[in-house]
Amino acid sequence: MRTLLIAFAATVTLAAQGAAPQVTPQDLLDGLKDPGKWLTYGGDYSGTRHSPLTQISPENVGQLAAQWTFQTGTLGSFQTTPLVIDGIIYATGFNNHAWAIDARTGRPIWRYRRNLPDDLHVCCGAVNRGFAALGDRLFMTTIDAHLVSLDMKTGGVLWDVELADFKVGYSATVAPLVVKDKVIVGIAGAEFGIRGFIDAYDAQTGKRAWRFYTVASPDDPIGGRSWPPGGDAWQRGGGSIWVTGTYDPQQNLVFFGTGNPGPDYYSNAREGDNLYTASLVAIDADTGQRRWHYQFTPHDVHDWDSTQVPVLADLTIGGQPRKVVMFANRNGFFYTIDRVTGKVIVARPFVETTWAKEIGPDGRPVLLPGHLPDEEGTKTCPDLGGGTNFMSPSYDPTSHLFFVTARETCATYFAFDQKFKPGEQFESGGTTRPRDQKNFGALRAIDPVTATVKWEFRYPSVSASGVLTTGSGLVFAGDGDGNIMAFDSRSGKNLWHYQLGFAMRSTAGTTYMLDGRQYLLVPSGSMLTAFALPGEQRTQR
């Protein structure tokens, strides 16, 4: 018996040593080519959240039915984009709980629990937006401002490094982005007077490879002059990273949207443009050096983070092929930007905006008067939640449409002076909803060549759901009232809906093939729901 056991153990060890890593850098470059995988936050490096799968189609989506549900049994809501690798789902949840789950049945395999400190400083919930993967490892940021690497097989901790000190307001919710051998993450906490950054860590060792500060120091030749000379406002200048960036392998550039300057509303102590907050930054993936930046909202005073997902695509504009990055911004404008030069090609509002007339030829917004918050209050559209926010958009390269969850809102903004104290909230203002204001939400389809809205589907209330598109011409999105819905991508016609019981936030889920079936996996509340077609409907188009 003992001999047999030794022989068995030796076989297992050999098998483990010989097994190929589950996720290679080439797999990440291949994106969604393998129909059984969803390997990174945006599906692939472009951030389009467009799956080529076609089994679920406009013709049969009405038959889509829930196959299983998974309940976390914890408080708090999902904002995760689950990864799917070889039949296993890897999902992160509230308070940095995380799970490996059988994608066929919804049965959990392992669970990670983090011992979080009691004195966390979190402005917007102890949420997490998902894992990244490389080799047999998973990577997750934590609400106490760490980055952890977990063993994909067991959930065991391989390494755990501190990004910054949570006690003075730093936190992290972003799903990491793996590029080559590096894990790229960003920090949050601008509402507590932090100085934001984007970091890269060695995937094997957890050693930091580079850091890019989203708030320029005085010795920065470009951004240093955008903060008051001689002052220290830049040291608490904000610039959170809430949402995962994207990667252009040809240029070896990563693109990240950066958060609002701090303090959020009262800006007398931070005169200037406040670079590189409320911006899109293009950074060399190997060195962390800035290649270019574009600031959407110079000297933001409305808490309009630009931490939306920068979506990469190749478009034909004016008969010329253009490599672009598309960006639906919290400030209410949609931008198509040349991702080689960082210059705006076209920009127009996609919701009601009252603070700027237009984006000028120099790329700066042409401001309208009367929108600087003060103690008396000024009404501006959109509200602090923005025209859109952290929820992921999607781009369908077949219909050439960009889909985004839009918010039609206005607010009265107040600003007042506030003394900075490390670890305490440092916003210097706030907002109220005007009494006659009726907010609503919509799924909008935007032509990125002209930055015009082609169709919309309205919701009675605002939504924070992401969007997912598929190769069959479907758009999946969630409203603010708990529905997951499917639409025809060209016409906007609603084709299917299902009441989940809790509104989706941040993501519209993932889709993958398993055993010949296409699944749609949707996080909402503390539940994952897997949808598929009934057996007789499963015919490839």
């Binding site: 919930g125 939640g385 007042f416 909230q425 109220t432 919701y459 009232d481 819905m485 809906h497």
Partner: protein, 274 residues
């Protein structure tokens, strides 16, 4: 990024001098032994009062009005005068049970700034006069004119809001406004809708919930019902309230004064707790 805040979801300084103090001491955990409000460094400090005003405008004014004389919530110039700072701090922190006034998670210092502002305002303001109406006649007016739709305790209709706590939840001016011109503001869940079915039937009621595909209402016969929008020809969102406007022709000033005198006594299920 800041979580979207509206004043309705944040700190609303909504203080009842009489009932809240008793309710809090009876139902809530005891305040800490040394309340931060015992030694409020901001009292009388000009800069602090200015900061407190700004905080008040963001977090409190939506319900209590920019001048703190009450909008939907009570007149604070009348209510905070005799309340000790420790109790006021505890009310801001915990909210007022049974009303729209929520508790706050704001730092202690921000609550102390708001208290400094309210104290300064209280010293400078003339309070709203106390109710003078004949409570007995007011109760008769209520039974005749209001009880068909509004509930107090276990009695009355359910089409309009339950008024069992209304005395702790509204200023006199807010009550007058909501009786004379009820369409000016609809409490959530009481917006007027008319549903037109495919065969042309009209169902009128108050909107309880809605999404893109369905709507849930209480109709004028107090039936709660859900409808699929696909089964409806139209959903009409009306500007008028189901509650009629009680103009002077319908309710003279004396009866209105008496009715308000009665309503201000309504501060919870146990009317002896005042």
């Amino acid at each position: 990024m800041t979580r979207a805040r509206s004043a309705g979801h944040l700190l609303i300084v909504f203080v009842s001098l009489t009932s809240a103090a008793v309710l809090l001491s009876a139902q809530e955990p005891q305040p800490p032994k040394v309340s931060p409000a015992r030694n409020n460094p901001h009292l009388g400090n000009k800069e602090s009062i200015r900061s407190g005003m700004a905080l008040y405008r963001v977090r409190c004014a939506d319900c209590h009005g920019l001048d703190a004389k009450g909008y939907r919530g009570p007149d604070l110039t009348a209510l905070v005068g005799d309340m000790q700072d420790e109790k006021l701090f505890q009310t801001l922190r915990k909210g007022v049970p049974g009303t729209e006034m929520p508790g706050s998670t704001a730092p202690d210092d921000e609550l102390l700034l708001v208290i400094a502002y309210l104290r300064n305002m209280n010293a400078a303001s003339a309070a709203e006069p106390a109710p003078t109406g004949n409570v007995e006649n007011g109760q008769r007016v209520f039974t005749a004119q209001c009880a068909g739709c509004h509930r107090i305790g276990m009695r009355g209709g359910r089409l309009g809001p339950d008024l069992s706590h209304i005395g702790a939840a509204r200023s006199r001016s807010a009550l007058v406004r909501e009786i004379r011109t009820p369409a000016e503001w609809f409490p959530p869940g009481y917006e007027t809708v008319t549903l037109v079915t495919k065969d042309g039937q009209r169902v009128r009621g108050t909107r309880k919930n809605e999404d893109a595909f369905s709507i849930q209402i209480m109709d004028t016969r107090e039936r709660i019902q859900g409808y699929l929008k696909a089964d409806l020809r139209e959903v009409l969102y009306e500007k008028e309230s189901l509650m009629p406007a009680f103009t002077t022709a319908r309710l003279n000033d004396n009866d209105l004064n008496d009715l308000i005198g009665y309503l201000t006594t309504l501060r919870g299920p146990d009317s002896t707790v005042r």
